[in-house]
């Protein structure tokens, strides 16, 4: 088990190296740079002034040297400073991270808490009105853009409840109720897609498991249907559901990016989009690499958990 986890962890290293190369060269080679972005609208900026600024920021070094510096910084934790504000990138990340983590965790928890029971009900009572409603609702949930759902939710709360979320972020450790009130709508908007996915996967997995011989055996030996459902059926159905949640973390991060921009929540996604607009290489590289790293690690954790839940995997 431990060996399996370690072996999988080793496989992450080449992926990380590849990701850092991809991000670095994408950011550096695509047109426009931070200096141009800083001088936008200033017609008087001379070419020499721009060039000296580029030199000061280390942008005139050969690309491989810049890359080595970037990787060295990431490995040693010296992430450098924002090219536009001069603030240390690590400070920016430390400020943005809790927001995105809170959003994503809240979204994943609500999606699972609602999606699994709906899927179970749908599978246990197939072709009832409830099942049909859950299935159609599931497909709709996959098709609603999260930013539209959030727009509609804002519309409803502002018109009927006369409530508009605050424009500045309230940390949960300062004022938990206010923080939850602010973050619930965005988290629901992000979680909707995941909820639909979890519900559909739970339903499929439950239907599959309920056909198995051991379910019939459990019924035959006189176990209550409650016990059969929870101990035999649901437990075994959850394995593919966990995988799906892992795969959907990417969607969750992408969704968080759009919704953060929309609600003005200064999380990782918001920071990344702002940095892209100002070509702040230092921030783009670290933020993008970090989001990708989280995605890879969550998938790794799911893989390991999967092997733990289903011992057959490891041998295969």
């Amino acid at each position: 088990m431990v060996r399996y986890a370690l072996r999988r962890l080793l496989f992450v290293v080449p992926t990380l190296v590849g990701m850092s190369i991809l991000i670095f060269f994408m950011v550096r080679l695509l047109p426009g740079d931070v200096v141009d972005a800083m001088f936008t609208g200033e017609a008087g900026a001379s070419a020499t002034a721009k060039q000296s600024l580029r030199k000061a920021l280390g942008l005139t070094d050969p690309l491989p040297i810049q890359y080595v510096k970037f990787v060295g910084g990431v490995v040693t934790g010296a992430l450098g400073n924002s090219l536009t504000s001069g603030e240390p990138v690590s400070t920016i990340m430390a400020r943005a991270l809790p927001i995105t983590v809170e959003l994503a965790v809240l979204a994943a928890v609500t999606a699972t808490a609602a999606g699994v029971p709906l899927g179970v009900i749908s599978a246990v009572r197939p072709n009832t009105a409830l099942d049909v409603a859950a299935r159609v609702g599931g497909l709709i949930g996959l098709s609603v853009p999260n930013f539209w759902f959030a727009t509609l939710a804002l519309l409803v709360t502002s018109v009927f409840l006369h409530w508009i979320p605050p424009v500045t972020w309230v940390p949960p450790w300062r004022d938990l109720p206010a923080n939850l009130a602010q973050i619930t709508l965005p988290a629901l908007a992000i979680g909707l897609y995941l909820m639909a996915t979890v519900m559909r996967m739970t339903r499929t997995a439950m239907l599959e498991v309920l056909r198995q011989d051991y379910i019939r055996t459990a019924h035959a030996k006189g176990a209550t249907s409650r016990a059969v459902m929870f101990r035999h059926a649901l437990r075994n159905s959850l394995i593919p559901v966990i995988t799906v949640i892992g795969f959907q973390v990417g969607t969750l991060i992408g969704g968080a990016t759009v919704v953060e921009v929309m609600f003005g929540l200064p999380g990782m996604g918001y920071t990344l989009v702002q940095a892209i607009f100002s070509r702040d290489y230092a921030v783009i590289e670290v933020a993008a690499l970090f989001l990708a790293l989280v995605f890879v690690l969550v998938n790794l954790a799911v893989d390991v958990l999967y092997g733990f839940l289903d011992p057959r995997i490891e041998q295969a």
Partner: protein
């Protein structure tokens, strides 16, 4: 959704005549594919709206002739926007934008992904390892985040959004194509063709590509919906189609500033996005049932 359309009898019911049975079988098939048929109908309606809509509703989407933020009426069935432009004509034009972006970006993904996947599966060894590690790396990024980075760095425009979306979803095609290629190449008729001295190009064209079509068609349909959603998200963030040209995502973004006075502006574009995406999702579900039962529920 059973894999086989089953016609069941209650215990004690006598077997109905053959014609009745056949009709019941057809009915079961149509019922089973009702979702796919609904999806196809939605997509056909959208295409018709994009192509024929401007002929049926002859209001210029750029004209600012009307008053601003008018409520829906006979003259403007969906009202007017913040510049006095007719919302319905903008939704109709947005259908063209959405379909164009969806189709072009998925074609980019399809072509690049298929070439990569076939090359990896066909040549194996070092080529396979190199290409697939690259695919793994791209898969390691959340799709929308990568699309935002590429589109943002290339510069906000519709063309760049299409390129970004195409690049981001190519690895998905490469993986599926490689898997299917390996499956087909192991079949005896490929070996037979090889032993007859058939060239690689001909094996790929005549024996490989036709046999990996089924999963490709399903994947294309599914990614059309994803691509349209991604374009809407990019345009919503200001990284896709640029104003004054209307796109559903961009219209939704603009509508947010006038939500209290003109809530209908925030409803129509979102409903349009949802309908088209739902259509492709339904169609994908239906096609999957028909073409590729093994891919179901994945």
């Amino acid at each position: 959704m059973n894999a086989q359309p089953a016609v069941r009898f209650a215990a004690g019911e006598s077997r109905p005549p053959a014609t009745v049975l056949r009709w019941r079988l057809y009915a079961a098939r149509v019922r089973r594919n009702a979702i796919g048929a609904t999806g196809a109908a939605i997509i056909l309606a959208t295409v018709a709206c994009a192509l024929l809509g401007p002929l049926a509703w002859r209001t210029d989407y750029a004209s600012q002739a009307a008053r601003r933020l008018l409520a829906p009426s006979a003259a403007h069935p969906l009202g007017t926007d913040e510049l006095g432009r007719d919302e319905l004509s903008r939704i109709v034009h947005g259908a063209q934008v959405s379909l164009q972006v969806g189709i072009v970006s998925v074609v980019i993904a399809l072509v690049t992904g298929t070439i990569t996947g076939v090359a990896a599966g066909f040549y194996g060894g070092v080529v396979d390892a190199a290409l697939m590690r690259g695919v793994d790396v791209m898969f390691a990024f959340p799709g929308l985040v990568l699309a935002i980075v590429i589109a943002g760095l290339l510069g906000p425009s519709r063309t760049n959004a299409m390129i970004a979306i195409g690049i981001v979803y190519a690895p998905a095609f490469a993986r599926v194509v490689r898997g299917s290629t390996l499956g087909v190449l192991a079949l005896p008729y490929v070996e037979a063709a090889r032993s007859l001295g058939v060239s690689d190009v001909r094996i790929v064209r005549r024996h490989l590509l036709p046999n990996i079509m089924a999963p490709l068609i399903v994947l294309t349909t599914v990614y059309l919906s994803t691509a349209i959603l991604t374009e809407a998200a990019l345009s919503f963030l200001g990284l896709g189609t640029q104003p004054p040209e209307p796109s559903w995502g961009g219209m939704l973004n603009a509508a947010r500033s006038y939500m209290e006075r003109a809530p209908w502006l925030a409803v129509a574009p979102g409903l349009a996005i949802m309908t088209v995406v739902l259509g492709f999702n339904f169609l994908g579900d239906g096609l999957r049932d028909i073409l590729d039962p093994q891919l179901r529920d994945t």
